[in-house]
């Protein structure tokens, strides 16, 4: 690095977008389709599912049989590059706190990783403070965002059913797949307990919606990304089509360092380090749009200090980094003895559950303020690393083909046991809403930089009683469902108040939101109702950072709808020369 200099791109873009995930990808798509000149910065390499997916590989095509590595924590075939750690890019936590932070570095960001669960927020989810007095109301209502949800449904595709549930609104759904066998058991068990089990809502194309994308062929591997684009990834559905307009320049391996501002305090562009040549670059645009992910966007703003923005950009409210909250998570599972020795057939289905449970109770009658939904798994899944692990704790308790055996063992008898138990397991996990609180936050660690010299985040997040009581309720629900199914519980049943009822650590569910929230009051929120910075009118955020509050839903569909809404607003404002 003998001659370090900053290379300024001469081209002036209408917009510079940071991050190519759901939020950034949608912004790039809307703007490029509207004819604007867009530059999209992505911190990882190019990724096209059609070329790079591990779809349809068998376990033995991985030397570790699909086990995880630090490069792919969800397994060797998972679509996501990196995850809980990235070499050379540390983060820190304050003493006595834990934060798990998933970072994908590749085109499409974390949409390469997620479960395709695509749930709209409902009317109540935008007005939680009015309902329970906690947190803050959004500056928009369901009616404001509904047209964008509708358009996202149609543009991207999602299967599900219209159930007429007030807070789990209907949409434009493709037909869902029929439930699998264990899912029929779950549905029946739920009915007995008064717990609804309805078709899941996943952004997977059970029918083709255009000529660019194929339809699902039921390999159950959406997590690896889809070679025929039959599920939603930001790369295949948004960025690659946007590139075809000719209006989008994609810069990969570009790690954003700072948002640049001028003397008036307006954004002028973004500086970044190119990870391949380690040179410093600047790209300028009329508008800067951040979709770097909830915490990376906050980091970028806090690192963008100037005379006009001494506290970090868009941070006169001092709220950037605050109100950080993830979905809660807890799980339980076991196996269903009536499924032992079951008939074999291809049960793969789509990538994920065919049924789920939306939140069904009234929190006014409970001792915790926010709800959760339940996700289900099980069945005759592909054998991968870990297959039949721990069989010695199972094969002594159940007669195999009528014969009770001694636990453990080996030989032909053991092979018989493996065949007998295969496909009988079932599991479930709750995903709940945590309350956004000012004392859960990320900030710049004053002592630590990453390998590019960019100051890193330090996290300070803890669960509160609200989340802990919710997890206790989840466990009671899971136990009831499993009991009704006649299942034997083998994991998740030993939790109590000492371990917060088995709550996953904050960040672990990978639904974090809230660090640059929208709000009606510029004194307490960095962004207005268009996700436009109060302090800097040509700066917008389009990822999970803008959420005023979570819901008992996965956040991707709402990121997409909000990004579409903000991006269309930007197109209008640029046309009117307001920004």
């Amino acid at each position: 690095m003998g001659e370090l200099q900053i290379k300024k791109q001469s081209k002036k873009y209408d917009a510079v977008v940071v991050g190519s995930g759901a939020g950034g990808g949608m912004a790039a798509y809307v703007l490029a389709k509207a004819g604007l000149k867009v530059c999209l910065l992505e911190a990882g390499p190019m990724f096209d599912p059609a070329k790079h997916s591990s779809q349809l590989k068998n376990a033995w095509e991985s030397p570790r049989r699909g086990a995880s590595t630090k490069f792919r924590p969800f397994g060797d075939f998972d679509g996501s590059f990196w995850g809980w750690q990235i070499d050379g890019e540390p983060f820190t936590t304050t003493q006595g706190t834990q934060w798990d932070w998933w970072r994908a570095r590749m085109l499409g960001g974390r949409t390469n990783h997620w479960g395709r669960i695509s749930l709209r927020f409902g009317p109540n989810d935008f007005k939680r403070k009015s309902i329970d007095g906690l947190g803050e109301d959004w500056p928009i209502s369901y009616e404001d965002i509904k047209p964008y949800y509708d358009n996202v449904d149609k543009l991207i595709g999602v299967f599900g059913t219209n159930e007429g549930l007030y807070n789990d609104p209907d949409g434009f759904f493709l037909p869902p797949p029929r439930p699998r066998l264990h899912e029929l058991f779950i549905k029946k068990a739920g009915q007995q307990a008064g717990i609804p089990v309805i078709p899941s809502r996943l952004s997977i194309l059970t029918k083709a919606i255009n000529n660019e994308r194929g339809s699902c062929f039921y390999c159950s591997q959406c997590g690896r990304s889809c070679k025929v684009y039959a599920d939603f990834s930001s790369s295949s559905v948004l960025v690659i089509p946007a590139l075809k307009t000719g209006n989008l320049d994609l810069v990969t391996n570009a790690m954003a360092r700072e948002v640049l501002t001028n003397n008036e305090g307006l954004a002028t562009g973004v500086s970044y380090v190119d990870k391949t040549d380690l040179q410093e670059y600047q790209v300028s645009g009329k508008v800067v749009i951040l979709g770097a992910s909830t915490c990376e966007t906050a980091r970028l703003l806090l690192n963008s200090k100037s005379q006009r923005h001494p506290n970090g950009l868009a941070n006169s409210s001092n709220a950037v980094g605050k109100y950080l909250h993830d979905s809660t998570g807890a799980g339980m599972g076991g196996f269903v003895p009536t499924l032992f020795n079951r008939k074999r057939y291809n049960e793969d289905g789509v990538g994920g559950m065919h049924v789920y449970t939306p939140w069904w109770l009234d929190n006014k009658k409970l001792d915790f303020p926010r709800g959760y939904h339940i996700e289900y798994g099980g069945g005759m899944e592909m054998p991968m690393y870990g297959f039949s692990w721990g069989i010695e704790s199972m094969n002594g308790d159940y007669a195999v083909n009528g014969v009770k055996k001694e636990a453990g063992g080996y030989g032909k008898s053991l092979k018989e046991d493996v065949r007998f138990f295969y496909g009988a397991h079932v599991g479930m996990a709750g995903r709940g809403e945590a309350v956004a609180r000012i004392d859960n936050y990320c900030e710049i660690d004053p002592d630590v930089v990453d390998k590019y010299g960019i100051p890193v985040l330090r996290f300070n997040v803890k669960h509160s009683d609200y989340e802990i009581k919710q997890a206790k309720h989840m466990k009671e629900t899971f136990r009831e469902i499993l009991h009704n199914m006649g299942a034997v519980i083998t994991w998740g049943d030993k939790d109590d108040e000492k371990n917060m009822w088995g709550l996953n650590p904050p960040g672990n569910i990978i639904h974090e939101a809230g660090t640059v929230r929208m709000g009606a009051d510029s004194k307490t929120s960095p962004l207005n109702k268009w996700a436009q910075a109060y302090d800097c009118k040509n700066l917008f955020c389009v990822d999970g950072s803008v959420f005023t509050s979570q819901a008992d839903k996965n956040i991707t569909w709402t990121i997409l709808a909000l990004s579409m809404r903000t991006s269309e607003h930007i197109v209008d404002e640029l046309k009117k020369q307001n920004i």
Binding site: L174, E347, M382
Partner: protein, 223 residues
Amino acid sequence: MDRRDSIKALVIGTVTAGTLLDACKTEDKKKTGDAAADSKAAGIEDRMPEEVEYNKELQAEKFFTDHEFATITVLADIIIPKDDVSGSASDAKVADFIEFIVKDMPHHQTPMRGGLRWLDLQCLKRYEKPFRDCSSQQQIEMVDQIAYPRKAKPEMQQGVTFFNLMRNLTVTGFYTTKIGYDDVGFVGNRPNQWNGVPPEVLKQYNMAYTEKELKECISYDKA
């Protein structure tokens, strides 16, 4: 694209990506050279450079001694022998998998190395030979001491713990091969049309789809 087209696109698109779709198996071999076959065997295609480097390093290392490797091979074939349904652990190259996985997961290294040594010492005391040189009858006698966690003698506990790990690695290593998939009857991981649980299975469990499900869900019933 309709489903037929998308499956066609998939098959074409994966020739270079090297999936094991039967349709493109032979073609695949012809089109890609030895180098590509090598990288495929090493599981390093379509990986980040950091992953390629890491996998190469692991492949180049050797962890188990020849004696340890031979002992693992004998044990694995005791755990998974050939039967009427499928072949043995050796047929599925389970020892090679165990050699790789302990390099990839170092937490298995000491329990495996130490456990093998523990076993050899037990056999030296009993039969004056290391495990692999014992007769088949002696090997089974020894294994019977450590293969049943709930009835093993307390002084055999370390051996039980080792054998549990050995059993788990062997079972996982065997059932994650083609031989293992066929043995357990796994018939997924191929393009198909999900049309719900087969009717005879629904009947077996006294289940049925509701009118609502039959109306709303995607159907591939033949008209």
